[in-house]
């Protein structure tokens, strides 16, 4: 290859030099024969009469120069062809014999670019375009080239290794599908680098729409990936600079997309009627025009994905709306919440009498209400009517009250829940510890004897310190008076929820394998405002201790690693992805570790009946319009067709004949000019 490049450089230098000399000589022109005439004015008059002929003469001069250069170029080509053919051995044909082909299979690759009219004509997604590009790249490569195919989304899957079976490689490329996930470019590049270890002439070709990856930077990889952009970013392939490339991309993006997206789903039970709630949707319209849509809300107790919702759900609402371009919020009040799982479908409003769109654009969103199971609460208290009443106020608590002297923690260990049916314990001024593995609330206005000296504050001003915590939701101590509060001693990892200014904690949440709350306040020693707040505080505490503190469970971002908090540690959880069979979940302490690219509702179920259900959501980076042409564009290495020597010499002879023909033409022109 280096020899060939050197030959090419030499030939190019030689050809350029000859052309430059020819042009220079032509411009210098040989000195014409000078003839003295008695009266130039008469000649001036003659030439003025035939100005057009003078222009014709000038034109002939330049034509003559062009012909001369053409002759030189033909002679140069005739000389170069045999040389190139001789040098073009198989081992120098390939610049990058080992290529890792990374195809972006993230969610944005499912987008169809352009407006409806164009899209119906083409009907291809970005991934289909990427498949075509990758197939062309593979087809154009010599048989000696080796490829590795990596499908990149939230994960990096090697679909074809170094091999010579091109048919299998093409099949693997053709079978690629877009995933409901963001792009983890770092993982894909790490896999590619690993595949290229030990190969010197190697390249990474990244076929992508230019979407923003969740993590990773192409420039950091070695060799630096070359991009084949599809979709709107494809316009940047021929741009010489990054700025011009981005400008071309923006121009292509200006046409918008036929795309609707569910960006966020919020579901809030009505405080007055927990059986009904308000659905808040943030929808995105990428069409750059007002789009009439139909929003469908379906509810189910068990469905996890679109297929299951269509089979086993109840349609709760069908509501038309007109979405302006960009993101907008739609509020659907008074939604029946009798089932915990919801699927929201947004699609263009059907037009009566119109043909069905061959490539519809729509999106799904999912929401899950927190599980509202009955909780067994053990209240260990001498007599506290306020506290007992607050616990009973919850519509799903089953309170079992015992006297402190009858309380033995080991009788209520978490492991024995099937026997005693207790989910959490409330200790009202009881010095004894919580049962093993059992979450609980400790009200400790009177400290244990081990704590000396105990600290108290009288008529304090209590300030919330973690207003965003689930325990403090809806709670304010403003204008609430307490006679006396106890300042709690802090332990490592304690979260102070409320304190007496400046630094006397009175409410603490603790989570060291099991959730625990301590209060240093006595609600019997507060005024009316505090007593009204008690049921709310207790309700929040019970929900948090039971792991059901969120009314709507936050979505999990597809393609990213997840750590789902489990209310009880040490159980053998089963994870079920939508549409997949259950399998053993990985756990680290109370966190369940997972990652998936399947959109829908993921569930984790414990043997004791606990179940966690979490909806998924596409990463915000997977917006079809969020594309950038960053990095280097891929241009196929210039490959000279292999020619045998005879063919090259034949071509060379043809070129020489052509040069002679042009020379004869030039000579005829000269003779014609002389004889005119």
């Amino acid at each position: 290859m280096m020899h060939l490049a050197a030959d090419l450089r030499t030939l190019a230098l030689l050809g350029g030099s000859v052309a430059a000399v020819l042009v220079l000589l032509y411009l210098l022109r040989p000195r014409r024969r000078r003839i003295e005439v008695p009266f130039g004015g008469l000649w001036q008059r003659v030439l003025a009469q035939s100005e057009a002929r003078v222009l014709g003469t000038q034109w002939r001069r330049w034509l003559s120069l062009l012909l001369l250069l053409g002759i030189a170029a033909l002679i140069w080509s005739a000389a170069a062809l045999p040389l190139l053919a001789g040098r073009n051995t198989p081992d120098t044909q390939v610049q990058a014999p080992h290529t890792v082909l990374i195809l972006d299979c993230s969610a944005s690759m499912a987008a169809r670019d352009g407006q409806i009219k164009d899209r119906l004509a083409r009907g291809t997604t970005r991934l289909q375009e990427a498949i075509e590009q990758a197939t062309e790249l593979v087809d154009a490569a010599p048989p000696e080239d080796r490829f590795v195919l990596i499908a990149a989304s939230g994960s990096a899957r090697v679909l074809a290794g170094w091999g010579t079976d091109r048919a299998a490689l093409r099949q693997a490329i053709a079978a690629l599908k877009p995933h409901d996930a963001g792009l983890d470019l770092h993982r894909a590049l790490a896999t590619a680098e690993q595949a290229l270890t030990g190969y010197h002439r190697a390249a990474i070709v990244f076929v992508t729409d230019g979407g923003t990856p969740l993590q990773g930077d192409a420039a950091s990889a070695r060799p630096e990936p070359r991009h084949v952009w599809v979709g709107p970013a494809r316009a940047a392939m021929q741009a010489p600079t990054a700025a011009q490339a981005q400008a071309l991309v923006q121009k292509a993006l200006a046409h918008g997309f036929d795309n609707l997206a569910v960006e966020h789903v919020g579901l809030r039970p009505d405080p007055a009627d927990p059986g009904r709630g308000t659905l808040t949707l943030r929808l995105r319209n990428d069409t750059l025009r007002d789009q009439a849509v139909q929003i469908s809300v379906a509810a189910s107790a068990t469905a996890q994905d679109v297929v299951e919702f269509s089979r086993d759900s109840a349609l709760r609402r069908v509501q038309p709306a007109v979405l302006p371009p960009g993101s907008s919020t739609q509020i659907l009040p008074d939604v029946d919440l009798d089932a915990p799982r919801f699927a929201i479908h947004v699609q263009p409003a059907p037009v009566p009498g119109a043909l069905q769109d061959q490539a519809p654009f729509d999106d799904w969103g999912f929401a899950v209400l927190a599980q509202r199971r009955e909780l067994g609460v053990l209240l260990v208290s001498a007599q506290d009517l306020f506290l007992e009443a607050a616990l009973h106020a919850g519509d799903r608590t089953r309170v079992q009250q015992i006297a402190p002297e009858r309380y033995h923690p080991e009788d209520f260990a978490a492991a024995d829940r099937p026997r005693h049916g207790i989910d959490l314990v409330v200790l009202d001024n009881v010095a004894a510890p919580l049962p093993p593995g059992m979450p609980g609330l400790r009200l400790l206005l009177d400290p244990p004897k081990s704590e000396t000296p105990a600290r108290f504050a009288h008529n304090p001003e209590i300030v919330p310190r973690a207003a965003e915590h689930a325990l403090m939701r809806g709670v304010s101590f403003q204008d609430t008076n307490f006679d006396r509060v106890r300042l709690l001693p802090l332990q490592p990892d304690d979260m102070v929820l409320a304190s007496v200014a400046p630094s006397g904690p009175v409410m603490v949440a603790r989570q060291t394998g099991v959730r625990e709350i301590e209060w240093g306040i006595d609600l019997a020693e507060t005024d009316l405002g505090g007593r009204y707040a008690l049921p709310l505080l207790v309700g929040n505490a019970v929900a948090w201790l039971a792991g059901e503190d969120e009314p709507v469970l936050g979505p999990l971002e597809l393609g990213r690693p997840w750590a789902v908090e489990a209310p009880v540690a040490g159980l053998a959880w089963q994870w079920r992805e939508p549409g997949q069979a259950p399998r053993r979940a990985r756990a680290a302490g109370t966190q369940l570790l997972a990652s998936s690219e399947i959109q829908g509702i993921h569930t984790w179920t414990a043997p004791d009946g606990h179940q966690i259900a979490r909806p998924t959501l596409l990463p915000a980076s997977e917006r079809p319009g969020d594309v950038h042409a960053l990095g280097l564009a891929w241009h196929a290495p210039r490959r000279v067709q292999r020619q045998d020597a005879a063919q090259a010499w034949t071509r060379s002879a043809q070129l020489l004949l052509a040069a002679l023909a042009i020379l004869a033409l030039e000579w005829l022109l000269y003779l014609r000019r002389r004889t005119l």
Binding site: R32, R33, I35, V37, P38, F39, G40, L42, W43, T57
Partner: protein, 306 residues
């Protein structure tokens, strides 16, 4: 059209050798015979004055001499008319010889237009001197040099010859400026023989008319070299104007030469037209013609000493 030729600044004594002088003598005799056969040898001036030859009548005006009144005519017509007589005086013949560089163009070894002009001037001068007329030679190019006083008598011929021999080609042709300067230096009108190729970029203009209005009687001898028109040279050339030095590149083709000949014919016709407009005679003299043929042609055309 010829290769550049070095202008001759030496005396042109070879132009006026013994053969030339003998030929001039014969021409003078021939001219005198032609004059006695049909025309008078002496040429009268156009000046109307106190001679004895009746010229014309004109109306009487206060201040005129009463003795000039034609009383016979008055008796017949009852109109007061004066009799006018031509005033006899010596004719002055001015030879305006173009000595610009364009007159010095000729193939090597061939006579130039200036040579021919000088020979014709010498011959005509001899004839005029023989006719007792006054002769002055006025070389010109961009202007006129110091004026020469007209001379009279055959013995002045060699003075004329020395003067002609000393004329060296130089400068550009400027007919208008030269004739205007000539008029300023020579207040007395006479016959004005202009020998030139008339290669003046500014043209002839009204020079002949101005000359005529001043009382001069112009006679134009347009000298040319037709061998330059018949050239068969072709190809790319750089034409250099011998007077201005301006250079112009062209591809000389037969077609272009044909157009050049047309342009020259048109140019020559323009000179003739300008002469006709003032009643002057105009002869085109080709270099191939011998000087005596030219002289005879001048006499046959008339207007010279006629």
């Amino acid at each position: 059209m010829a290769e550049a030729k070095t202008g001759s600044s030496a005396l042109r004594t070879d132009l006026f050798d013994a053969g030339f002088l003998g030929r001039v003598e014969q021409l003078a005799l021939l001219a005198r015979r032609m004059a006695t056969s049909g025309q008078r040898a002496q040429r009268r001036s156009r000046k109307v004055g106190s001679g004895i030859e009746f010229a014309d009548h004109r109306d009487f005006a206060p201040g005129d001499e009463p003795r000039s009144i034609d009383w016979s005519l008055f008796a017949r017509t009852r109109r007061l008319q004066l009799r006018l007589y031509e005033e006899e005086e010596d004719l002055r013949v001015y030879f305006l010889v173009d000595r610009s560089l364009s007159m010095d163009m000729a193939p090597a070894g061939q006579p130039t237009l200036l040579d021919r002009a000088l020979q014709v001037t010498a011959a005509l001068s001899y004839i005029a001197l023989s006719n007792l007329d006054r002769v002055a030679v006025v070389p010109f190019a961009q202007g006129v040099a110091a004026p020469m006083s007209p001379v009279r008598g055959r013995n002045q011929f060699f003075h004329i010859l020395r003067l002609l021999s000393a004329i060296a080609p130089a400068g550009r042709t400027s007919i208008v400026a030269s004739l205007a300067a000539f008029v300023r230096h020579q207040p007395r009108p006479g016959l004005c023989v202009i020998l030139s190729d008339f290669y003046d970029p500014t043209g002839l203009g009204n020079a002949l008319r101005d000359l005529s209005l001043r009382g001069f009687e112009p006679m134009v001898l347009h000298l040319c070299d037709r061998t330059l028109l018949d050239t068969t040279v072709a190809g790319d050339f750089a034409l250099v104007d011998c007077e201005t030095g301006e250079e112009r590149e062209l591809c000389l083709t037969p077609a272009l030469m044909a157009r050049y000949r047309e342009a020259f014919a048109q140019f020559s016709e323009e000179i003739h037209r300008a002469a006709r407009q003032v009643g002057a005679r105009c002869l085109t003299v080709d270099l191939s013609q011998s000087f005596d043929d030219v002289v005879m042609k001048v006499f046959r055309t008339g207007g010279f000493l006629g």
